[in-house]
């Protein structure tokens, strides 16, 4: 089976030759290639080259045409600061109050900020790798984009103090995600990960997720499927147990589970969803390869079918390559 076939089979709960494995290698690909992160995040050819190099090194099942969490907000007018060798952060937010989103237009993914870099990276990766592995793009979910446009603190207070304006902001954020996500699929991404860490129950109450976020995530996932995406992947970190039951209603096929979530409990909650996770991300920095192998065994024991072995969240930039390799080798050893 190819990596892509393996992942799609897992999504459909069909037999696979081995458990699919996706270490969430984003900027870590630049680090191991010795490339400055700022270059990786601004030059599509560099990103694609580093992702392919990481794929050849580790032998996993997916690559990511993913820059960072600031692509959309930058395209909408936020000013970023790029540190020497780290991810950028927002220096000045695009809007100061939620109603100001009414003055923003949906950015053209082919022109605005670094969106074209993401599209070009998806195109290059797909051209090079075809259907041998999953080529994943990424969009921010509505809650996270709202936080990235306004600042997390202001956005959260706005959710309580200005609910109507905040809902309009969420609608706008979902529209941005649909437009950018569909453009990435057009460019060559097989699927788009919907990355929405600010929707975590660690950040907002599950009732807010159910009432405000789930409908918009559902609209987004439906739009991505309508564009031809064979599956949708919702990535929310933290203790997602209370919101997992809402995922199927959001048209989610793959649910990321972080290290703090028990895979057995998650499986029992959403037996129909493919899960991916959930080795502790920092373990790739502060542990030994044998610790990773043990952690993988524990995760796989409780996972059942319809499971993709992965880190609970992004592999840290400074992760030890031998630890990442141990994750990938765990499934190969199991099958071999």
């Amino acid at each position: 089976m190819t990596g892509l076939e393996r992942i799609l089979a897992a999504v459909r709960f069909q037999p696979t030759d081995r458990v699919p494995v996706i270490p969430q290698v984003f900027g870590h690909a630049a680090r191991i290639a010795g490339v400055p992160l700022a270059q990786y995040l601004t030059e599509a050819a560099v990103l694609a080259r580093c992702q392919i190099s990481a794929l050849q090194r580790y032998g996993h099942d997916a690559v990511f045409a993913l820059l960072d969490v600031n692509v959309e907000t930058e395209a909408l007018g936020s000013l970023l600061r790029f540190p020497e060798d780290g991810y950028p952060s927002v220096e000045h937010y695009a809007i100061e109050y939620p109603a100001a989103a009414a003055e923003l237009a949906i950015p053209n993914p082919h022109k605005a900020g670094r969106m074209p870099v993401a599209l070009e990276a998806a195109r290059l990766l797909r051209r090079e790798l075809q259907d041998s592995v999953l080529v994943a793009g990424c969009v921010l979910g509505p809650m996270t984009l709202a936080c990235q446009l306004l600042g997390a603190e202001r956005a959260l207070y706005a959710a309580a103090d200005e609910p109507e304006a905040f809902e309009r902001l969420l609608d706008f954020a979902a529209d941005v995600a649909v437009s950018f996500g569909q453009a990435q699929l057009d460019a060559g991404a097989h699927i788009c990960v919907v990355f929405d860490p600010s929707a975590s129950p660690a950040v907002v109450p599950p009732i807010l997720f159910r009432e405000l976020l789930a409908p918009r995530l559902g609209r987004l996932c439906e739009a991505l499927k309508h564009k031809g995406s064979p599956a949708t992947w919702l990535h929310i970190a933290g203790p997602v147990e209370p919101i997992l039951p809402f995922y199927p209603g959001c048209h989610v096929d793959i649910a990321n589970i972080d290290y703090c979530v028990d895979p057995r409990q998650a499986r029992a909650t959403v037996p129909q969803l493919c899960l991916d996770g959930n080795v502790r991300p920092l373990a790739f920095v502060d542990s030994e390869p044998q610790d990773i192998r043990a952690a993988c065994s524990r995760v796989l024991d409780g996972a059942g079918t319809g499971f993709i072995l992965s880190s609970g969240c992004e592999i840290p930039l400074e992760a030890r390559p031998d630890c990442v390799q141990a994750l990938v080798d765990s499934v190969k050893r199991q099958s071999g």
Binding site: S89, A160, P201, L317
Partner: protein, 208 residues
């Protein structure tokens, strides 16, 4: 519990700043022991939020709203300054390289409403600056909040830098999404807090 106090606590837990403030003013105007009651109400609300956190039902938004309401009531009760600052001074910061300061700000709010004096060194803060602030402000604890893994090596330096300044007796506490994945020994700190309330409980136990 006293009916007025109970209403105040409910308003605080609902995160309803306006109603909490109205109730606080009513208590202060009508009761000779008003100020003491307001402190009781603040304590009760924060203890209730703390209990909720230990059952892992907490989220940042609820804590922010309750914290904001508590700060409004604290300002009403003590217009000259924060609650009473009898529990000592702590220094808090998000270390250099990390600009995610929401968790730090929430912890600051919770600590302030629990009676600690908080010196906030901000985000993207060099650890040497945190240590200098601890010395200058006679703090008994230094708190580092970090969302991203790149701050781990910086947090590991804190204790050594404190020792160099003759401040080995200070508590060093870490928290935040990245740091709470680590054990205290791995970070060379005294404690890794699960959340702001867990941090408060640890600080309340720290000898000083």
């Amino acid at each position: 519990m006293d009916a007025a106090l109970s209403t105040l606590v409910t308003n605080l837990l609902d995160g309803d700043s306006q109603s909490a403030l109205t109730e606080a003013r009513r208590i202060r105007a009508s009761r000779p022991d008003g100020q003491r009651l307001l402190v009781q109400g603040l304590e009760a609300a924060m203890d209730s939020m703390s209990a909720k956190c230990t059952t892992e039902q907490f989220n940042l938004l609820e804590i922010m709203l309750t914290g904001r309401a508590a700060m409004a009531v604290a300002r009403e009760a003590f217009p000259e300054g924060s609650v009473s600052e009898t529990r000592g001074t702590v220094v808090i910061a998000t270390p250099q390289g990390d600009v995610h300061d929401l968790g730090k700000n929430i912890t600051r709010m919770v600590l302030s409403s629990k009676g600690f004096r908080v010196v906030d060194c901000g985000k993207d803060c060099p650890v040497a600056e945190m240590v200098a602030a601890a010395a200058r402000e006679h703090a008994f604890a230094v708190l580092a909040s970090g969302l991203i893994s790149s701050v781990v090596p910086l947090v590991r330096q804190l204790r050594g830098l404190l020792r160099e300044r003759g401040l080995a007796q200070l508590a060093v506490v870490a928290g935040g999404a990245a740091l709470k994945q680590c054990a205290a020994e791995a970070l060379n700190v005294d404690y890794v807090a699960r959340d702001a309330f867990d941090c408060v409980q640890f600080l309340e136990r720290w000898p000083r």
